[in-house]
């Protein structure tokens, strides 16, 4: 008690309550805030570094365009060593493209007339050989041949794109209907106890490592489907597509289910009160109301399939072919990176092209994610808050 009364005399004065600087408080807040920035920083760094390794394809070309001179001059311009190494590597390949090709390639990338002429004029020098090679690389990107390891390497992305699209299309055609119907089943029809089984089971599927799904497709599904359809190549787009569908189903299911259960009960009750049956309500009220969510689910499913590497590596056959037949082997963009990156020389053209593919994948999935986000956040929320 004594202590108390003594203290009371100087409590609640401006002095005793004066703002204190607490170093631990200050530091913890600063540290936590900077750590939180890390997620943003990582995204930016991924952009930056994946593009950085892509740049040599474009950079060496512009360097040559602006000043068609010797490698020595390039060094003075502060071109980095990887580029020099690049040029040396290309010299070995020799010149395999004509001035015509050169011009075409340059036209494609929007170079001015004079630049085009310059390059044409000095095309016989060593350095222009390098430049021509670069142009050949750029031109070959839009070609139909993916032959990165040959005497005349060609980096045609068309078959890879076709392969990826084929796989994605097949996978989504399998996954989307099954996942959406299953989500509707759990959200609208299934009794509680069944829902308690289905949802964790699908969560479990989401937890399957893709290498396991790839292994299953490679060892079991491929032979099984070959037995049914009797096609020639055991591993093909069809097998890969179904395997990818297994990876996409949990994503599509989960987001669709969320969207379906987020629909206010009043919607459903209104429909039921009007005499609609359970299935009519599900099909004509619940499902349409959840379309933005379902759309987002499919977008994210596409993103998942598009970027999936291990399943593609193991189950698609990995042949870079441009065909529409679903029973032929394909090679996807992601699988190409996965299969070839370990064997390239750091810094050479093949390496940069693989990074270019990575950049494209990244931009594409980033866009899909942003779009899906817009759909989930924007449309769905607005719809239910009655602000639309």
């Amino acid at each position: 008690m004594n202590q108390n009364t003594e203290k009371k005399k100087f409590v609640f004065t401006k002095e005793s309550l004066k703002k204190k600087f607490r170093i631990s408080e200050f530091l913890s807040e600063k540290i936590i805030t900077s750590v939180a920035f890390l997620s943003i920083a990582i995204i930016i760094l991924i952009f930056f570094f994946v593009f950085r390794e892509t740049m040599p394809i474009f950079k060496s070309q512009t360097a040559v365009e602006s000043q068609p001179a010797t490698a020595m001059v390039q060094e003075q311009y502060g071109v980095d060593s990887s580029l020099i190494l690049n040029d040396q590597g290309q010299e070995q390949y020799g010149v395999d493209s004509t001035v015509m090709v050169n011009a075409n390639g340059q036209e494609q990338y929007g170079v001015t007339e004079s630049g085009l002429q310059d390059t044409g004029e000095v095309s016989s020098t060593d350095n222009a050989a390098g430049s021509e090679h670069e142009v050949a690389v750029l031109k070959s990107l839009v070609g139909k041949d993916w032959l990165p390891v040959s005497d005349h390497p060609r980096y045609g992305l068309i078959p890879l794109f076709v392969g990826t699209l084929k796989i994605t299309l097949l996978a989504i055609l399998f996954a989307a209907p099954i996942a959406i119907l299953a989500a509707l089943f759990t959200a609208a029809f299934a009794p509680n106890w069944l829902r308690e089984i289905i949802k964790p089971a699908i969560e479990l599927l989401a937890g399957f490592p893709s290498v396991v799904i790839g292994f299953f497709a490679l060892m079991v599904m491929a032979s099984f489907f070959q037995g049914i359809f009797g096609y020639e190549s055991r591993l093909n787009a069809f097998v890969g597509g179904i395997a990818m569908a297994l990876a996409a189903i949990p994503i599509i299911y989960t987001i669709t289910e969320d969207a379906l259960t987020a629909i206010p009960a009043s919607y459903k009750e209104a429909s039921l009160a009007l005499g609609a049956t359970k299935w009519q309500t599900a099909l004509f009220v619940t499902l349409p109301a959840a379309t933005p969510g379902i759309f987002a689910a499919i977008l994210l499913g596409i993103g998942r399939v598009f970027g999936e590497t291990m399943i593609a590596l193991m189950a698609t056959g990995n042949a870079a072919m441009t065909s529409a037949n679903p029973f032929e082997s394909v090679r996807t963009l992601a699988a190409t990176i996965g299969a070839e990156m370990a064997e390239v020389v750091f810094g050479d053209t093949h390496y940069s092209v693989l990074f270019l593919i990575g950049s494209l994948l990244f931009i594409f999935t980033f866009g899909l994610n942003a779009l899906a986000e817009f759909y989930i956040k924007g449309k769905l929320v607005r719809r239910f808050q009655g602000k639309s």
């Binding site: 609640f12 401006k14 005793s16 204190k20």
Partner: protein, 252 residues
């Protein structure tokens, strides 16, 4: 009349666009119990929470006017909220023991003030629990989880936890609303004891409780202070019609 511990001057509070307190001026005397009554949503809890600046935690709150404690405006930019709260204890509607032992719950405040000496902490814990009339019930299980106590015991332990920081003012936000009659009686008895050394402000729904424990009563309605005065007067001969209606149970 006694010295005033807390004086508010034109205290107005907005939650975003919505006015929750309208120009409240009130004097709260030292070492007495002041009860806030009024229907729910009338602003009595909000007012209580401005007294230790607990509303700082809620986004979009804007406050004008003054709260003077011992002549110091607690909304002054120079005021350290953390130190302020050490001097103003708060007991909440729902007992909120930490998921720690009884001992650690009560020692929490002293510990964050830098007291780590074991015997000193033991002293503080024992004294505080005794002041809160719960020592006898828990002295043999100080190191058991506080979550194992009954609701009433938890609430008294929370009061002990508050006392351990040696505040001068104790704010109680419907401290007995979730308790059975026996526990409520114990809390009320405790409040009666505590007012010898502390200035107590209690928000309550229960008018009998206000009548039983408080010396002064303030009636709030729709964010305004309708009437404030000696409890006996408020309950027997209120000045305002609204107060009378509320007390006699005509609305609420």
């Amino acid at each position: 009349m006694k010295e005033f511990k807390i004086r508010t001057q034109d205290l107005t509070l907005f939650y975003g666009e919505k006015m929750a307190l309208n120009s409240i001026s009130m004097d709260i005397p030292e070492k007495e119990v002041t009860a806030f009554i009024g229907p729910s949503g009338c602003g009595k809890s909000t007012f209580l929470r401005t007294l230790n600046r607990m509303n700082d935690l809620i986004p979009n709150v804007s406050i004008t006017g003054e709260v003077m404690i011992d002549g110091v405006n607690i909304f002054d930019k120079q005021i350290d909220v953390v130190n302020l709260r050490k001097k103003i204890g708060m007991v909440f509607q729902k007992s909120n023991p930490f998921a720690k032992s009884i001992f650690e719950n009560v020692a929490y405040g002293p510990r964050i003030n830098g007291i780590n000496n074991r015997t000193e902490l033991q002293d503080i814990v024992e004294t505080s629990l005794k002041k809160a009339f719960i020592w006898e019930e828990v002295k043999d299980r100080l190191h058991d989880s506080a979550l194992g106590l009954s609701g009433g015991q938890q609430q008294r332990m929370c009061i002990a936890r508050t006392l351990a920081v040696e505040p001068e003012i104790i704010l109680m936000d419907e401290p007995a609303s979730a308790l059975d009659p026996i526990s409520t009686a114990k809390i009320e008895e405790l409040i009666f004891e505590l007012k010898r050394n502390y200035t107590i402000v209690i928000v309550t729904h229960n008018m009998q409780q206000a009548a039983r424990v408080s010396d002064y009563t303030a009636f709030f309605y729709l964010g305004e202070l309708i009437e404030h005065g000696k409890t006996r007067k408020i309950f027997t001969t209120p000045d305002k019609k609204q107060t009378e209606d509320y007390i006699t149970g005509r609305f609420g």
